[in-house]
Subunit: 408 residues, 2 copies
Amino acid sequence: MALIVQKFGGTSVGDIERIQNVAQRVAKTREAGHDVVVCVSAMSGETNQLVSLAEQISGGHAPLAREYDVLLSVGEQKTIALLAMAIEQLGHSARSFTGAQMGMRTNSDHTRARIEQVDTLVLKECLSEGTVCVIAGFQGVDPSGRITTLGRGGSDTSAVAVACALDADVCEIYTDVDGVYTADPRVVEDARKLSRISFEEMLELASLGAKVLQIRSVKFAMRYGLRLHVRSSFSSDEGTWVVPEEDVVEQLVVSGVTCNSNEAQIRLQNVPDQPGIAARVFTPLGDAGIVVDMIIQNYASDGSTDMTFTVPRGDYAKALSIAQEAGRELECETVEGDDGIAKVSIVGLGMKDHAGVATRMFKVLARESINIQMISTSEIKISVVIAQKYAELAVRALHAELIDVLDS
Amino acid sequence: MALIVQKFGGTSVGDIERIQNVAQRVAKTREAGHDVVVCVSAMSGETNQLVSLAEQISGGHAPLAREYDVLLSVGEQKTIALLAMAIEQLGHSARSFTGAQMGMRTNSDHTRARIEQVDTLVLKECLSEGTVCVIAGFQGVDPSGRITTLGRGGSDTSAVAVACALDADVCEIYTDVDGVYTADPRVVEDARKLSRISFEEMLELASLGAKVLQIRSVKFAMRYGLRLHVRSSFSSDEGTWVVPEEDVVEQLVVSGVTCNSNEAQIRLQNVPDQPGIAARVFTPLGDAGIVVDMIIQNYASDGSTDMTFTVPRGDYAKALSIAQEAGRELECETVEGDDGIAKVSIVGLGMKDHAGVATRMFKVLARESINIQMISTSEIKISVVIAQKYAELAVRALHAELIDVLDS
């Protein structure tokens, strides 16, 4: 008998029938003899409706963050009540828990709260009675008893945090895709589903724009060594297991090719090459809440240097204006930007041991006449920034050359 | 400076604009120097949607009561968040509280929980900081931390219970009518708004079908001597004050004429006149959850008697079948029913001192050739059951004769 945490996203609980399907899956898991904690998101569309209400009442101003959390948290509360009803309809005992009820303790950073502690007392008691715990993802409670929400990807994080706290055997992430692929199947026809992937690779893939799992939840699982199983809520096929590196039997040199087209590039040319320059550029960006991704600074040849960095495309206009202001103060020659770029990356544990993967990547791009504007590497990842119009071509060519050929 | 509890029903918070109107009223009350607790219902229509979801997921079975409460309680949670946002938009500090957060402690009788205690600690602390408390009506929390709801009229009851616990100066009940009338203005053209009415009268009126205030909330207010002010959420005119008897300066002999057409009548004829008969008829009705209203038993003339009673019309078929079963066992002659009846009542504190009001009532009905089928009286009320088709005629005639003429 295992303890299984199952997480279902908004699409999987999008209407009454789907909630009933989820209930049946939970019931089957119970009938197989396992203890079950189910963590659910708001029904798809629900959160958007709530956000719209908040925007309407705030008349153009930012809604009050702590009441925004009170409002948004009703989304999951609806789902837990309905799912608990549906499970009981199937003859199994179930009980719903809001974030506050289950003891998801967070800090007070409303709309993006951090989990501080997961009380397991009530959940353990409930499980020991043979009752399915149906918990609301995405939400928690701060030290003063106020409702908080965890921000983007919060439901994945809730599920994983609860699974870690309960020392669950596995956390199953049900979603509308059936696993993690070597590339986006909409772009690469022969992309294939990975049966296993390491936490490290998953983390890189998630950071690089693969939407199947949120970064925070992967970090959590990695820290606690909790095995994740990403699978489809619409079939009973095995999906992709996200596991510690040593459990990945079939280590691919390159296990994924990803593309992120949601960034923009900003270039400062002929910046005086002195200590403290980078700080003067990036401090005001940080103050403005803009998260800088890649940063490249060339070796200075004649007392001045070029600096290039990328920011989320939504922050492009603001970031460019901040960079131009900094550029004027630093007396650099030009500050320009480009929001027509894409970041294409290859990720693979095997890159640690296989030399020459970067060279292969650059050769493929050269063969396709794609100019590389920026390069950034980590132990298991290489990212390049290219013109956006070549993004799909690059992904297809890299997938064909690096995944299929190097497959061990 | 007073402490004012304001309660707004579903229609008053039915959309964003109305919630903003409520916020302005709250802001004005704050600006006049008062402390404010606002208690709100779910936006109108919201509860019906949630009920429909519960029915769909339960596929014809009764929804699981304790999860039903978790589901329904999201309605008010939406309103409190939105209203708190709207109040803050107007430059006043506000904080929302769910039933559990504010300390509305109830028993575990889901969907119709009774209030056991109202913790005032958090609310008092919030008020002492000059913050408006925005509380969710209708909901509470049971000793094991589960969400409960108070059932019909729960929001009025929440508001009044909190006002009593906080020893508030007044509880204002905002609704879509502007006060308590001597009769339904849709039926009686010259019905007039009462400026004051006693708790006792209000209780009778509420019991008799006047929908402006719920019985439970009036009982609560009466027990604690809390003054209620029933007024329109769409105007700033004074409404009707519900106050202790001694504060009603202008005591009318008859202050209201009401009509309830939601009952049905059941008659058992020639029941053997022995001890224990009533119990054998009414025990199975009670077991079936049917609330019997009027019961009339005639003096037995020849060893047998007639018994007539009324039940809610929605329970008519079930009650008739139970009564027929009991009738067979008791060997009574016939058991018949009639769901074409109406109960018309007159209510007034002054009836305590004025003899002859009943006679006047019966004379009016006789003059209109309306046959009286049942009569029931209390110290300040006389109710008669008549054929439903005469109901409006009876109300108009009684209003013309008893209110206008006897007005002191």
